[in-house]
């Protein structure tokens, strides 16, 4: 797997910033882009012969990857510690579920609206981010997360409360029904690819540089003429919109939603996926979500011990490489080639 040129959030300060200058210009094809394309092709064909269970787990992995990608932008690139990603995912999932089941809106419109709504809420919630940093921001987002969960649970007339919303339909694609596990999986692959490429482009654009500058040293960024306020808001809002998109796919994938998958503990779990995958690496979210979603399923052969083994693996991983799996791969690549940095 190819790794990125940008450095992880953890680790040394500005020492490696010059590496940013070696990034290709926005839009240039690079290893990451090719990996995304190759991954999409593999995932398009992978479920053949896997059965519906395997296909479902792959789809769930991709959907969670989208939410983790958003959080990776907020945390890994812009350095904002958010504990509300699952809440944003919930907003997206409920928006899509309510619009498609109660009002008969097409999934595509609901998908767009879910993204727009979470983007807008992200901007509103982003305002406190201008005033508070680090732990304080985490607390603000924690409060927001609890608030969303309470609203999802208590406003039964709209959200179905603790009983949730069932029989959520899957969309059509130009007349092709996507009810089957394989068809819907392929649809998820395409949507994930589009969103991942969009983020890849964003990170390589001047905006992406601004986000990274913001994370590294906000004062220097401001002195270089970057509008830190606008970029903080943007990073937060785009990251939230990705969670909204993930939610819009999650609802038709599971065909049932209730408030539990969008609780605070799930936000922590998404945060774990960012860190374990390698925060600040574009492919990190895929690795992180693989660890968070697919690994526990693989470990089921261990019977009642599987969650203990899962937790032990994650802890060992983070002790061995605080930069996550992507960081580990980057180090391994550097050893192999004798080069530091990106693996292109």
């Amino acid at each position: 797997m190819t790794v990125q040129a940008t450095r992880p959030a953890a680790g040394s300060g500005l020492a490696s910033s010059p590496r940013l200058a070696r990034l290709p210009l926005g839009g240039t094809i690079d290893g990451t882009f090719l990996t995304l394309l190759a991954g999409a092709v593999i995932l398009w064909f992978a479920p053949v012969g896997m059965g519906r269970y395997g296909t479902y787990v792959l789809s769930l992995w991709l959907v969670m990857s989208i939410a983790v990608m958003g959080l990776n932008l907020t945390l890994g690139y812009a350095g904002l510690k958010s504990l509300a990603q699952a809440a944003f995912m919930g907003l997206g999932a409920y928006t899509t579920a309510i619009l498609t089941t109660k009002y008969g809106v097409s999934w595509y419109a609901a998908f767009g609206l879910s993204g727009l709504l979470t983007f807008a809420v992200g901007i509103v919630l982003g305002f406190p981010a201008l005033r508070v940093k680090a732990h304080y921001l985490a607390f603000v987002t924690l409060a927001f997360s609890t608030l969303v969960w309470l609203a999802l649970r208590n406003e039964q007339w709209l959200t179905g409360g603790v009983f949730g919303i069932s029989n959520i339909n899957r969309p059509d694609f130009f007349g092709i029904k996507l009810f089957g596990a394989l068809e819907f999986h392929r649809f998820v692959v395409v949507v994930t690819l589009i969103l991942a490429v969009a983020l890849w482009w964003l990170i390589r654009s001047p905006w992406g540089r601004a986000f990274t500058a913001l994370r590294e040293n906000p004062i220097r960024a401001a002195s270089l003429g970057i509008d830190t306020r606008a970029y903080t808001l943007l990073a937060f809002a785009i990251g939230s919109a990705y969670a909204g998109f993930a939610g819009a796919l999650y609802a038709p994938l599971v065909e049932f939603i209730d408030p539990s998958p969008f609780s605070l503990s799930q936000s922590f779990f998404l945060l774990l996926m960012v860190v374990a995958g390698g925060s600040g690496y574009l492919l990190g979210p895929f690795v992180g979500a693989l660890l968070g979603v697919v690994l526990p399923e693989w470990l089921r052969f261990a019977g009642s011990l599987y969650l203990i083994i899962f937790a032990a693996i994650v802890m060992l991983l983070l002790i061995a490489c605080p930069q996550g799996v992507s960081g580990l791969m980057e180090r391994a690549w550097a050893k192999l080639t004798g080069k530091r940095g990106d693996g292109r």
Partner: protein
């Protein structure tokens, strides 16, 4: 040219016969073994293991041994769906579990699409109102139990007003939405309607609210641990009014955790190892011996679930997945035909159950059955 074929067929048949004799029937149990549902899910799993051991010791179902696999759901709907899908892909004969209503809601369409019977432990009223022909309960639904409670409050407790305290999850909210109209129907005033949280530790404020409502009785509808904490808080606040509950409040776990505070609690019990039915008591002893703890109603439910599948298979005399659901629907299973069902059980067309239930009271730290209630449609 025909001879080789005949020999081949004879050889194949000869090889196949012993293979058939050893063939197993696979059952997958998808249940809450971690997360909020772990207490209920573990009891359910143990009940199933006990049933499988019993059935296998007696020669299995139609001569085939049962192979049981348990998959944890983490009490998460998305994971439950994955696990049920996996169970079906692996060719399970029927799906057992889950127990919590949310995860059931997330997974029931999959078994329905695959036309495989799913035997669940959920009590929420809404589950059987969606026209799913493959979903079966193992306990009375809230819609069936609550009218009995309302009648009990009116006729036996003689309460004119009742305070209702419930846990705000699918189980508690479902129960609350079912009991309040029933209370109003029999002319009982709802003096207080108190919502509490799943996992709540301190019930002092709720107990004070209940005390100030000054109702003739209190209806408590919480999960196991929360029930015990509430009973302790109520005792501390000096509430002396009758505490009335449904199954959970009188369960073994609650009595163990609440200690003295559980004494005097009474109400309706769907299933109990203390019921005056020898089969229940014998099950309770076997469970205690194997797991070193008393079984609650979920253990009984798990035990019965496996026997429902056994009964249906032996009734249709073949292993037909779809046939299990068809046979169960509308059937009445008698202990004389299938001792493992423990009590005569009627399965209605929508998957709800009808059977006898009990009124009980906690005396000196023990659940004592005071009356047996007949089936709704005897």
């Amino acid at each position: 040219m025909k001879t080789p074929w005949i020999i081949a067929a004879a050889v194949t048949a000869g090889l196949a016969a012993p293979a058939l004799a050893q063939e197993k029937v696979k059952l997958v149990n998808v249940v809450e073994l971690s997360g909020a549902g772990a207490t209920a899910g573990t009891n359910w799993k143990n009940g199933i293991d006990l049933a499988v051991a019993d059935i296998n010791a007696k020669g299995g179902i139609l001569g085939r041994q049962i192979e049981i696999v348990h998959y944890d759901t983490q009490t998460n709907p998305g994971n439950t769906r994955a696990a049920v899908q996996r169970a079906i892909d692996e060719g399970t004969y029927a799906v057992l579990g889950p127990v919590f209503s949310g995860p059931i809601g997330a997974s029931m369409q999959i078994a329905q699409r695959a036309e495989i019977a799913q035997i669940v432990g959920g009590e929420a009223a809404g589950l059987t109102k969606q026209g799913n022909q493959y979903l079966f309960r193992t306990s009375l639904s809230q819609a069936a139990a609550m009218p009995k409670i309302a009648k009990y409050l009116k006729d036996t407790v003689k309460a004119g007003s009742v305070a209702v305290v419930w846990v705000n999850n699918d189980f508690g909210k479902g129960g609350r939405d079912a009991i309040i109209p029933e209370l109003e129907k029999v002319g009982i005033k709802v003096a207080a309607d108190v919502s509490t949280e799943q996992g709540q530790a301190d019930f002092a404020a709720d107990a004070i609210k209940i005390r100030n409502a000054n109702a003739d009785a209190v209806f408590v509808y919480l999960n196991e641990e929360e029930s015990a904490r509430f009973l302790r808080a109520a005792k501390q606040q000096g509430i002396t009014k009758p505490m009335v509950g449904e199954t959970t409040l009188l369960g073994a776990k609650v009595i163990e955790l609440a200690g003295d505070a559980a004494n005097g609690v009474r109400g309706h019990v769907g299933l109990s190892i203390d019921a005056p039915i020898p089969a229940f008591q014998e099950f309770g002893k076997k469970f205690q011996a194997k797991y070193n703890q008393p079984s609650d109603h979920n253990g009984l439910k798990g035990y019965m679930a496996v026997h429902m599948i056994k009964w249906a298979t032996e009734k249709q005399k073949k292993f037909d997945k779809k046939g299990v659901a068809d046979t169960l629907r509308g059937a009445t299973i008698k202990p004389s035909d299938e001792p493992g069902i423990l009590i005569e059980t009627t399965i209605e067309a929508n998957g709800d159950l009808d059977r006898e239930s009990f009124l009980a009271e906690v005396q000196n730290g023990k659940q004592v059955i005071t009356a047996t209630l007949p089936k709704i449609k005897p």
